[in-house]
């Protein structure tokens, strides 16, 4: 087993998998962190901005922003899974099967 793991570690396809998945995962993480902590800090520093109505009614800017953060979380997870199912799984499966 240890030999097989070492062989995979030296395989360029493994390097590619780790690099591509790592870059994608960390990018999406950064987007989520920025969106959420941006939202929280916006509230902490400028409450009136979020309370301001959009359009003529009472619906405030905070509503689409807040619901937007929720939808963003769902969309980002969806994006990650689509890419993982399409690209990363095939690479990982190839690496797994080679050693068997």
């Amino acid at each position: 087993m240890e030999e097989r793991l070492a062989a995979v570690a030296a395989d360029p396809r493994y390097g590619e998998l780790v690099r591509r998945r790592g870059r994608f995962g960390w990018t999406l993480t950064a987007v989520m962190l920025a969106a959420y902590f941006g939202y929280v800090l916006l509230i902490a520093f400028d409450k009136p901005l979020l309370a301001r109505p959009i359009g003529r009614g009472v619906t405030s800017l905070g509503i689409p922003l807040g619901v937007g953060v929720i939808l963003l979380a769902i969309v980002l997870t969806g994006l990650y899974v689509r890419r993982a199912n399409r690209d990363f799984d095939a690479l990982a499966a190839a690496l797994r099967e080679d050693g068997e």
Binding site: V8, L41, A51, G66, A73, L95
Partner: protein, 563 residues
């Protein structure tokens, strides 16, 4: 009518307080609710009997034999998350303060994408039964597993107390039965589920409950929107009108009343200072990624692909649920706050602030639907408590007993026996603590559980997964420092130091410790690991490449079946 904004006093005081039910008044006995809860109990006992026949091995008990699909697991995870506190507490917070409730619920959701991007697949590839399998993968087993087990038990204990006290308050409120009954009913039923049905029963009870709760909340939100021609703007406008009217009635001048009415459309007092806001946000976001009863669910699916699918489903359901709660809270402002049938003579909600969603159910669907919603709310606590107990029991039997005391030489049957004994012990402890804490304000305990998980388990897991230089000494030292500092800062914070211990000013002025305790844990792990010159440290670092290959590719991943 008095100022309505004061209603859920306990909720307005601090963000953490929305998480449990608080003191409640006993209501008249509600037979419809009791009958429907009885039906739910029968159904779950049938599930347990079915699960018991399928629970033969250790893997069945801890992880349902790895036979749960991503969709099912997603619903179960969402169920663990959609607690009675989030259903009743968040809708009550929106009922009282409007927009603030949305900020609170968003914090609970945003940890999920992070878990997916950085942890879910790796956890599944490396782990078998508990998250300690992953955290200790390349390290010396006894110290890391001891840390993981103790940290799991403290998170589980605080979470359990909050749930037990919540259950007691709810049963007074919803069923009109005495507090002590609730605590004993929850303790006994939860023991039956976990003891006989293991993870299979725990998961399916959670799935049934999640489906019921989502159905219930969907129906309520649609019923509210239907009255406003499916226009959220019309709903919000009417809510502002109601709040303005209430403020004017309470003696505010016209301009002041209008301002109070509009205040529900923007952030209020929920986020006071940026430090508390950041700190609390971090606890919610990263605590999710360190909660043992949540992490455990990643081992119930067959492979990394299904682990991923679970998170997407969970995120979708939880996000959808929080949007529904928002509509339900506003619906309650419109339909409940002005209806004398739901108010005491003083103008406060009958039964206390957390009754907003329950009264709304009655306004929408009469007594039968009220009973149904009450039964679902109570079922929710049962299912969450079962998951917590199973996580605690696995930590004791798999991490402490099998690995630390028996040095991995315990056979699977002994380990299973220890696990079942622990379930009974934990249930007894939970019942006793539930009774002991009846009159206490336990609201800080759920946010404390999140803070502990974010400051201990999360840094340990992330660095052991992704940093080559991490060593046994580093994770044990850093994880322990994180947990202890989070605990001490919480004791010194306003929620305990001032509210419970009665001191004048808090030594730690912010509402959550995580902004300091979590980075501190990372720094200590890094520092101790870097300075670690022991022979063990060499082994730890040398093991990284092989561990990383396993975690990235799934080579050698456990299929979670040892029979």
């Amino acid at each position: 009518m008095k100022r309505l904004a004061l209603l859920p006093l306990a909720l307005a005081a601090s963000p953490a307080l929305a998480d449990t039910v608080g003191q409640t008044q006993r209501q008249p006995t509600n037979w419809a609710a009791i009958a429907m809860f009885g039906a739910f109990v029968l159904l779950t006992l049938a599930i347990t009997a079915w699960a018991a026949r399928r629970t033969r091995s250790r893997a069945d008990f801890y992880t349902a034999g790895g036979g749960i699909t991503g969709f099912q697991n997603g619903l179960a995870i969402a169920g663990d998350y959609m607690s009675a506190a989030s259903f009743l507490g968040i809708s009550a917070q929106i009922f009282a303060d409007g927009y603030d409730g949305l900020i609170y619920s968003i914090g609970f959701l945003v940890g999920w994408p992070i878990i997916l991007f950085l942890m879910a697949e790796r956890l599944r590839n490396l782990g078998r039964y508990t998250f300690a399998d992953v955290a200790s993968f390349r390290f010396a087993q006894p110290p890391v597993r001891s840390f993981a087990a103790l940290s799991t038990l403290s998170v589980v204990l605080f979470y359990l107390i909050a749930q037990m006290v919540g259950a007691g308050q709810l049963i007074k409120l919803l069923f009109g039965l005495p507090y002590g009954w609730a605590v004993v009913i929850v303790g006994v039923l939860m023991t039956l589920y976990v003891l006989f049905g293991g993870m299979i029963a725990t998961t399916w009870v959670q799935i049934v409950k999640a489906a019921l709760l989502l159905g219930c909340a969907t129906f309520m939100a649609l019923a509210v929107l239907w009255r406003f021609g499916f226009s959220p703007e019309a709903l919000f406008a009417r809510a502002v009108e109601v709040k303005t009217g209430l403020a004017a009635h309470a003696g505010s001048g016209a301009a002041e009343a209008a301002a109070k009415g509009r205040s529900i459309m923007g952030p209020g007092n929920f986020i006071k200072d940026p430090i508390s806001a950041l700190s609390f946000g971090m606890a919610l976001m990263f605590g999710t990624a360190g909660l043992p009863h949540i992490l455990m669910r990643f081992f119930t699916v067959p492979d990394a692909k299904q682990a991923r699918a679970s998170v997407v489903w969970a995120t979708g359901w939880i996000g959808y649920f929080y949007i529904l709660t928002f509509i339900i809270g506003f619906g309650a402002i419109v339909l409940v706050a002005t209806d004398p049938a739901f108010l005491d003579p003083a103008g406060t909600l009958k039964g206390g602030g957390n009754m907003a969603a329950v009264h709304l159910a009655s306004a929408i669907g009469g007594n039968v639907f009220l009973g149904f919603v009450s039964a679902v709310a109570f079922a929710t606590i049962l299912a969450v408590v079962a998951g917590l107990t199973l996580a605690g029991a696995s930590a004791v039997s798999h991490d402490l007993y099998a690995t630390v005391f028996r040095h991995g030489a315990a056979d699977a049957r002994d380990e299973l026996r220890v696990s079942r004994i622990t379930v009974v012990v934990l249930a007894i402890v939970a019942i006793l603590l539930g009774i002991l804490f009846e009159k206490q304000n336990v609201a800080f305990m759920v946010s404390l559980a999140f803070a502990l998980a974010a400051s201990g388990n999360f840094p340990v897991l992330i660095l052991s997964l992704l940093w080559k230089g991490c060593t046994t000494r580093g994770v044990v030292a850093g994880g322990s420092v994180g947990v202890l500092v989070a605990l001490v800062l919480t004791i010194l914070s306003p929620a305990i130091w001032v509210t419970i211990l009665g001191n004048k000013a808090a030594l730690y002025p912010f509402s959550s410790p995580t902004l300091f305790s979590m980075p501190l844990a990372f720094v200590v792990i890094w520092l101790v690991s870097t300075l670690d010159r022991s022979a063990r440290a060499e082994t730890d670092r040398a093991g990284y490449v092989a561990q990383r290959v396993r975690s990235e590719t799934g080579i050698g991943a456990s299929r979670a079946a040892d029979h």
